[in-house]
Symmetry: C2
Subunit: 327 residues, 2 copies
């Protein structure tokens, strides 16, 4: 008999070129392609144990039993896997994050990448990385980027609708560090998936999408050539573009806190001084301060002088989602 239990680990990712807006809700196709880096040290570990005794799925999240929306979202995702495998078994899902969830770190990305891998392996399915990435996308768009390792591009074929992420460079390609300045570990008021449904209400979204190929090209080249200054410029512009769309949507979404802006302005000043450092923000107030490894001590010491930062998480480029021994 095939194994009924599997466990996997996946890392959140931070996008240099953001995903914001859905072109096709049914097929989960994004409005634009995106580029990200998996963040090591931060991770989600998920085990899925299919059990013939169960009459519904159950979810333990960070040690606590959870029902409602988080469970039903994961359960719907497992339905998709059950259909692929032709199996009709409910499961115990046990998921642990080592970082705050719902606060602008892509917790749903690592969660659904890990769930896709453990959920399929538990039913004996052995999907290719590409198929796994495609599957993870239906749990949370950016989860498809947490399946491959290192520096990742998520691309959609306009004609076929094929949409999945793949590595453009390995985790060892470039010694970047992501210092995540945590301003708040409270769960944000409007989640990413809900927020981006309003993206098209901004008069700026179409222009942001139309300009995306230019930014993707700049970002890809900057990564492949390890050109930090080029990466910084396009990363900051892309982050500003996404937040510009958010702030001009109906209703407007402000994810920045005043201290987020204080950090952004400081990072710009520091780079003007010659320190290889840049910033980017996902749908939350925490600032991803990304620098070359050699600059980390200096950047950390400067971050410590900014008020309002309650913690700094450190991440380096990380590998793909992978199977673990079940726990």
């Amino acid at each position: 008999m095939k194994p009924m239990k599997a466990a996997a680990i996946a890392h959140p990712n931070i996008a240099f070129i953001k995903y914001w807006g859905i072109r096709d809700e049914e097929r989960k196709l994004p409005s634009n392609d995106s580029i990200s880096m998996n963040i090591g040290c931060l991770s989600t570990r998920t085990s899925v144990a299919y059990d013939p005794q169960l009459t519904s799925d159950t979810l333990t999240l960070n040690g606590e039993r959870v029902e409602g929306e988080p469970l039903s979202r994961m359960s719907q995702f497992l339905d998709r896997i059950r259909k692929m495998a032709g199996a009709n078994l409910y499961a115990h899902i046990d998921s642990e994050n080592n970082f705050p969830i719902g606060a602008g770190i892509a917790s749903s990305a690592s969660a659904f990448a890990a769930l896709a891998l453990a959920g399929t392996a538990g039913l004996g399915l052995n999907l290719s990385e590409e198929a796994l990435s495609r599957l993870a996308r239906f749990g949370s768009g950016s989860a498809c980027r947490s399946v491959p390792g290192g520096f990742v591009e998520w691309r959609t074929n306009e004609d076929t609708g094929e949409s999945y992420a793949f590595s453009i460079a390995s985790k060892n390609h470039w010694a970047l560090v992501d210092l995540v300045a945590i301003l708040s570990d409270q769960h944000k008021q409007v989640g990413s998936e809900a927020g981006m449904l309003g993206a098209d209400t901004s008069p700026l979204q179409a222009a942001r999408i139309q300009d995306a190929p230019r930014r993707l090209e700049l970002c890809r080249s900057a990564i492949l050539n390890r050109d930090f200054d080029a990466l910084a410029q396009v990363t900051e512009q892309d982050s500003n573009l996404m937040h510009a769309v958010m702030m001009t949507s109906h209703p407007p979404l402000f994810y920045w806190h005043p201290q987020s802006l204080a950090i952004m302005l400081s990072v710009r000043d520091w780079r003007a001084e010659g320190i290889p450092v840049t910033y980017t923000l996902d749908a939350g107030p925490n600032v991803h301060v990304i620098c070359l490894q050699e600059a980390m001590p200096e950047v950390l010491s400067r971050l410590r002088q900014i008020t309002g930062i309650i913690d700094v998480l450190k991440g380096v480029p990380a590998g793909p989602a992978r199977l673990l021994q079940p726990y």
Copy 2:
């Protein structure tokens, strides 16, 4: 002989629909139409004394003799007036502001509106409001909006290039108050006129311009119908749109300070509570907190609880630029 000296007063204005970007530098045509309100209590008083003894123009600004760029800019503007009048006389310009200049309050708007009026009257020219507005535009774009009184629209005819501002409602039409929360009285690093030359480097500027007719229509109706909530929504969106363009230009321009954002977020919360209050920011960190007169005491008391505000200026809708007895 015609009078050789004249003095005028003009008020700065705060735009609900912003001017940002120049379509035709030579003819000083803006990229989009705009709507503003003159701000009473704040004013610039300027006297212009033409003197056959002078061999060049002189400028006294807030009691101090000034040369360099401020003088040459005013002097070039007087050249235009001298040409109109067929006169060849230099002048003493004496200009006083009762508010900090160059900090996101439209000091150049009131300055050039007053200079246009005093400068022409001093040479015996008696221009119509329309002609004066058109003239003031060449000193500083938004100065054309400080010529007519009350609530003002600056419109450009696409075909003829005719471009001037006119009243859409008098100062007594609607009892609004502009509480200008001053965060910094330092002169900004990049002035508006220089900053907006980079507007077209933002991937968002074209979309902002293209959407302007919709916002102008919403804003004009909100003013004419005294619909505060409608005014608030379009005013905040328009301010966010302009700053979105600024922050995504090459190089990016950040005029917001962290405490600007703190005020913006507070104002949104207060309005959600039912207080008729909104915000808008020009090219500077200071926040124009605009409310109905009846809400002023409450809004003022709440503003006093926000750290970082060094002063609050109060302005009510004001009349047009007008002549004074020379001083």
